[in-house]
Amino acid sequence: MFESLTERLQEVFDQLAGRGKLTEDDVDKAMREVRMALLEADVNLKVAKDFIARVKARAVGAEVTKNLNPAQQVVKIVHEELIATLGEAGRLNLSGPSPRVIMMVGLQGSGKTTTAAKLALHLRRQNKRPYLIAADTYRPAAVDQLVTLAKQISVPYWEEGITVAPPEIVRHGLQAARDADASVVIVDTAGRLQIDESMMAELAAIKALADPAEILLVADAMTGQEAVRIAEGFDTQLDITGLVLTKVDGDARGGAAISMRAVTGVPIKFLATGEKLDALEVFHPDRLASRILGMGDILSLIEKAEQTFDAREAEKLQRKMLRNEFTLEDFRQQMQQVKRLGPIGQLLDMIPGVGRLTKDVDMSEAELQFKKIEAIINSMTARERRDPRLLNASRKRRVAQGSGTTVQDVNMLLKQFRQMQNMMQQIGKGRLPKIPGMFG
C-alpha cells in the first residue's frame, strides 16, 4: 500500500544522488518533497511537520562528518525516523489471570468484526483458547456476521441477539467464556464515531466491567486526515492499547498509520491484508519503514511463504533445484504454490527494488501471463514436462494449440525455463545473484 510514498521519496533521492555534498538548500528541497509525499500519503499535516523537523535537524548536522553519500545519509535518517515514529513491534499483552479480554473498537465499517475473527484464528494457532462475544447490537445482522465467522473457524462464541444491552451481553459472555475455559475473549463492538457521547459511554461501561488487557482501535488504512481525530478521540476516552490497520492490501498510501501512532503513542499491533480469515499480519516497524522507503519487505514475503508452502515439499524442491533435476512439472507445482501466496503484484512489491520496477507493469497482465504459462505446461505430456528437449516443432504446435497460445509463447516459456535452470545451477554452486538494495 505504501508504493506511492516510496516512489516519491525515491524520486527525491534520485535527484540528490550523484551530486556532491548536501547543502542546507538541498536538504530543504528534499524535505519539501518529503512533506508533499507525506501529505499525499494522508499523513496528518502536523505529524508531517514534526517528522520533517526531526529529519532536517539530523540531516543538516550529520552530513559533513559521515562517509556515507549524502543521499544515503538522508534516506537513512528518514528511515530511522520512520521506524521511530512507527514505534516498537506490536505484541499482544495477554499476561494475567485467564481469560484475558481484548476489546475491538473503531468507526463504522473499519473492519472490526472480520478482524475479531482473524484475531481469534491467529490466537488459536498460538495454542490459545479464544472466545468471541457479539456485542454489536446496532448494525443490522452484525451478530449474524460474527456468528457465521466464528462457526467458520470453529471458535466458541456468545450472542444474545440485539435486544440485550451490550454491557450485559459482555457480562454474560465473560461468564460463559470462563465456564468454557477460554483463555482469551475477544469482544466485538458496534462501530461508532468518537464524538458520539452516549455510544462512547457504552464502551466505557464495557471496559469497566470487562477489565480488558487490550483495547484495539481498528482503523481503515485508507483513512484521511481524520485519522488523528479518530485516534485521539478513542484514546482519550478509553486509553486504547494498540492499533490495527485494515484493508492494507489496497493501494492506500497508509499515512494514517503514521498519524495515529504519532498522536496516541500506542503501538500498531496488526495489519489486516485481505478478506480471508488468515490475512492478518503481525506488525513490524522496520519492515513497514523499509517498505515505505522502497527497500522492500522481503521478510514478510519469506514469512508468508513459510506459512503457505508445505515445508517438506519446499525442501524436496530445493534439493531438486540444487541437483539440477528441476522439471517443468516442478515448475508448474511451484507456480501453484506461489499462487496460493496471493496476487502477484502484492508479492512483487515485497521484493526489494522490484516495487519500483513494476510500477508501470499491469498486474492483471502478469496474472494473465501466469495463466498462459500454466496452460502451456498443462498441454504437455508428462514426458515432455520432464524432458522439454523432446519438444520438436510439431509437438510445440500441438502444445500451442492445446493451450490456446502460439508456438512463440511456447518457445518463450522454454527459454525462460532454461534461464531459470541456469540460475539455479549457479545458486547451487554458491553464486547467489545480487539483489539490488538501498544500502547494498
Binding site: Q108, Q145, Q152, D251, E367
Partner: protein, 303 residues
Amino acid sequence: MESLRKGLQRTRQSFFGRIAQTLGTTEIDEDTWDEIEGLLIQADVGVDTTVKLVGRVRSRVSREGLIKQAQVQRALKEELRGLLDDPPPLNLSGRDLSVIFIVGVNGSGKTTSIGKMAYRLKNAGRNPMIAAGDTFRAAAIEQLQLWGERAGVPVVAGLPNSDPGAVVYDAAQAARSRGHDLLIVDTAGRLHTKFNLMQELTKIRSVIGKVIPDAPHETLLVLDGTTGQNALSQARHFQEAVNVTGAVVTKLDSTAKGGMVFAIYQELKLPVHYIGVGEGITDLLFFNPDQFVDSLFDENGRS
C-alpha cells in the same frame, strides 16, 4: 435541513470556521496563505487541488485588488464552489424499469445507503425492489433483508456464496415480471486493486444489461467520507471497471470533511448525488453543492 446542519456543523466549526476566523481577523500575509493551505489539506482536499485553489485565489486577490478579508473569503468560497457543478438528476425515469447499480470498497456504506435510498425513493412514489448481490460477506444478505423490511421494499436474495451474477439475473427478471419500476443492486465490497473481483463486477454489470437493455442506468460508487486521497484511486478504478455515473459520500456526520469530493469531480466529473449523515433510515440527503460550500463557511448554520 436540520439533518444537513447536524452533519455539517462540526465541519463548519472546526475547519471552515477557522478559515473564516483567519480571514476575518488578520491582515493577509504569507502565514495566512499557509494557514489556508494547511486547513484545506486537513480537510482532505488534497495537495494538488489545494495548491491550485490557493493559487487561483491569490491571483484573484492581486488581479481584482482585493484587500478586505471578507472579499478574500468570498473569492475562496467561489473558487471552491467553482470546482463543483450541480449534480444532474438521477437518470431513473422514462422507462418501465430503471436500475441502480451500487459499488464500492468494503465497509464504505453500500448496504446502508441502499436501505436509505430505497426508503427515500419509495416515499417519492417509486416502486423499488432490491437485489442482494453481496453473497460473499458473512450475513450480508440478512443485513440487506433487514433494511428491506425497514424500508418496506422487497429484497431478492440467493444463497450465501452463490454466484452474484445469477442472483442479480433473477432479481432483474423478478423486478420486471412483478412490475417494479426500480431495481437497486447491492454488491459485495471489494478493494479496487483486486483484478479478479473488479472483473467479477464488470460481469455482474453486463448480466443486468442482458435482462434489461441499457441497464444499469445509474452506477453509484459509495465512498466513505473519512477516506483520504485514496478515494480518487477508488473512483478511477471503479469507473474503469463499471463506468460509474455518480457517487454517494457516507459518514459525513463524522468530523471528516469530505474534501476529496473536489478532486474526484475535477478529475473524473463524477457528480455526488447523495450524502450519508448517520445510520438512521432518513439520514440520506441530496448533495447540494451550494449548500455544501455555503454551510461549510457559515458558522451559525444559517444559509
